[in-house]
């Protein structure tokens, strides 16, 4: 470093006028730190993929992928063991669909109210409360579902047990709601006011402005919010483990007890012999989950990109 500054100092004009190049240590350190941090994220991601592939793929030499994906029999300790994951996959779909169907309309409506209708005093007090909901541990949500919701679901639908995909989906919707509200509200508030003004000046009512101007203009942000919410519902483990019911039959209706993929991994991994067939099968389920969330993200990206191309200024 000293050599370098010396060589620069030989340029006479630069030194006399205080213009010689300085070696700003802080800048280098910060730059390097930020670079390492971003590198770390990528390394960790690739590492996770590598582990999932390495631990999960060997199962396919025992059970062909076709059987693994579409088989309905999950008997990991029978002789011979069978690993069909359709049950878990369908359960995850049910729970996610219930959560999405409940959370999206309520979340978007709530965001629209906060961004477009509510006076600022209401917005400033309500939004933090909604965001607080995101901070409740999933175990606590599970408790509430167990204690309050599942008896309600049981009596409403006349079921043998209230522990079902429906109850789990409802609780999951509560967990994805804060994300959807918060991100959609930000998206709506980012819409320039000139669009609203133009619509009002054309004789649009408040509802028409929200429905036909603000929401379409904020659609990219709102769909990102929905994808984040869906991602949360797919990946949530503790709540579904506690209240989805854990039944090992392919659920044909959301009111049945079921075992989503995350719950299957969490409940099975404790009994699995490290490196054994069941262990491999559970990792393969993890791989499926990873691919599902990846697909959701890619779709969201594609949607956003198309939206942007159409609407960007």
């Amino acid at each position: 470093m000293r050599e370098r500054s010396a060589s620069i100092a030989t340029a006479p004009d630069a030194r006399t006028k205080g213009l010689q190049r300085r070696w700003r240590v802080n800048e280098r350190v910060i730059e390097g730190g930020i670079f390492l941090a971003s590198l770390l994220a990528i390394v960790v991601l690739l590492g996770i993929v590598a582990v999932l592939l390495r631990q999960g793929l060997p199962i396919f030499s025992h059970t062909p992928p076709w059987e693994f994906l579409f088989g309905t029999q999950w008997y990991p300790v029978s002789e011979p063991p069978t690993f069909g994951t359709t049950t878990f996959f369908v359960a995850t779909i049910w729970v996610t669909v219930v959560a999405t169907v409940i959370a999206v309309p309520i979340g978007v409506a709530c965001a629209a109210y906060l961004a477009e209708v509510a006076p600022s005093s209401v917005r400033e007090s309500v939004k933090p409360v909604i965001e607080l909901l995101a901070g409740i541990p999933s175990v606590v949500i599970g408790f509430i579902g167990l204690l309050l919701l599942s008896p309600l679901v049981q009596s409403m639908f006349n079921l043998n047990t209230g522990l079902s995909g429906l109850a789990a989906g409802i609780m999951l919707s509560l967990m994805s709601l804060p994300i959807i509200v918060s991100v959609s509200e930000d998206a709506l508030r980012a819409i320039p006011d000139e669009f609203r003004q133009a619509a009002y000046a054309l004789g649009a009512t408040k509802w028409e402005v929200v429905r036909h101007v603000s929401i379409p203009a904020a659609l990219s942000g709102i769909s990102a919010a929905i994808m984040l919410g869906v991602g949360r519902a797919i990946g949530e483990t503790m709540t579904v483990l506690m209240i989805a019911g854990g039944a090992l039959a392919v659920p044909v209706s959301p009111t049945q007890p079921m075992m989503p993929m995350t719950a299957a991994i969490a409940s099975g991994i404790g009994n699995a012999v490290r490196g054994g067939l069941q262990y491999q099968a559970l990792f393969a389920i993890g791989l499926m989950l990873f691919l599902m969330t990846l697909a959701v993200n890619l779709i969201a990206d594609r949607v956003l990109e198309r939206q942007k191309r159409r609407f960007v200024r």
Binding site: P192, F195, A199, A201, L202, G203, H212, R310, F311, R313
Partner: protein
């Protein structure tokens, strides 16, 4: 398309009557007074220019006529504003209906983030069921009226943001025309445009004035002199904004102003 300034300047205000009138109008934003005791008649099917220095309340005055000030919390109006003799600030007035009759073009072109077609179709779609065929007719007619059809007829499905600034502003005018208003308010519609686009808009305004009552707020003295039939000069006095100093036919106001302050302003001594 060429604007013959000699003809337009000598054109008498051949209006048939009064379209809008304010009487002892005052506007307050909370404790601040933005307009003070304005009494003014706006002639029908003519262009009325509102001129004055920045911050004198021109835009606030313009927004009186379609009640856009309603959207500002704490805004309060005193006095009366009449459209065809009807008090538009009366309790029984439906603001949505009022804004259909009194359209507005903004300072910065603000097309919606939609296709060209959807921008023009926005108003008609909101105001009742229209078939696709009718909608296409309305869009074409409005775009032709706004002198934009030839330029955009092949890109109706493209984003409005793909158009140039001047085209966007004419699209905004077409969007207003599609609602079939009686009055068009223009809030410095050319201030974000280049001179060529400005001339096109002025030319368009002249033609629209044969059918519509137009009120334009402008910073540009030449524009007011070129394009308007009647002018009104607003000024702030001390800390009170929005005092109407003088109004009358544009040719008189610009050649022989009655008030010394008007003369000072139009000759560029302040403002």
């Amino acid at each position: 398309m060429k604007l013959d300034s000699a003809v337009t300047n000598s054109r008498p205000p051949q209006y048939r009557g009064t379209k809008l009138s304010t009487s002892h109008l005052s506007l307050f934003y909370g404790p601040c007074q933005a307009l003070r005791d304005i009494t003014l008649d706006i002639p029908e099917r003519a262009i009325t220019a509102i001129i004055g220095p920045s911050g004198c309340g021109k835009s606030s005055f313009l927004r009186i006529f379609n009640r856009m000030n309603d959207l500002i919390p704490g805004a309060r109006v005193e006095g009366s504003v009449e459209l065809d003799g009807i008090d538009i600030y009366h309790r029984s007035i439906d603001v949505v209906e009022l804004r259909k009759r009194v359209g507005m073009v903004f300072q910065k072109p603000n097309p919606f983030p939609m296709s060209v077609f959807e921008n023009v179709a926005f108003g008609p779609r909101r105001h009742g069921r229209v078939s696709r065929g009718e909608l296409e007719d309305i869009v074409e007619r409005s775009l032709r009226e706004a002198a934009l059809w030839e330029e955009v007829k092949d890109k109706l499905d493209q984003s409005a943001f793909d158009l140039s600034g001047g085209q966007q502003q004419r699209l905004c005018i077409a969007r207003v025309l599609a609602v079939e208003p009686e009055v068009i308010l223009m809030d410095e519609p050319c201030s974000a445009l280049d001179p060529v686009a400005t001339l096109k808009i002025e030319d368009l305004m002249r033609r629209l004035a044969e059918q519509y009552t137009i009120i334009i707020v402008t910073h540009n003295m030449q524009q007011a002199a070129r394009a308007s039939d009647v002018s009104a000069f607003l000024l702030m006095q001390g800390d009170i904004c929005g005092v109407l100093v003088e109004h009358g036919p544009t040719s008189e106001l610009f050649t022989s102003p009655k008030d010394k302050r008007t003369e000072d302003y139009i000759t560029g001594r302040f403002g």
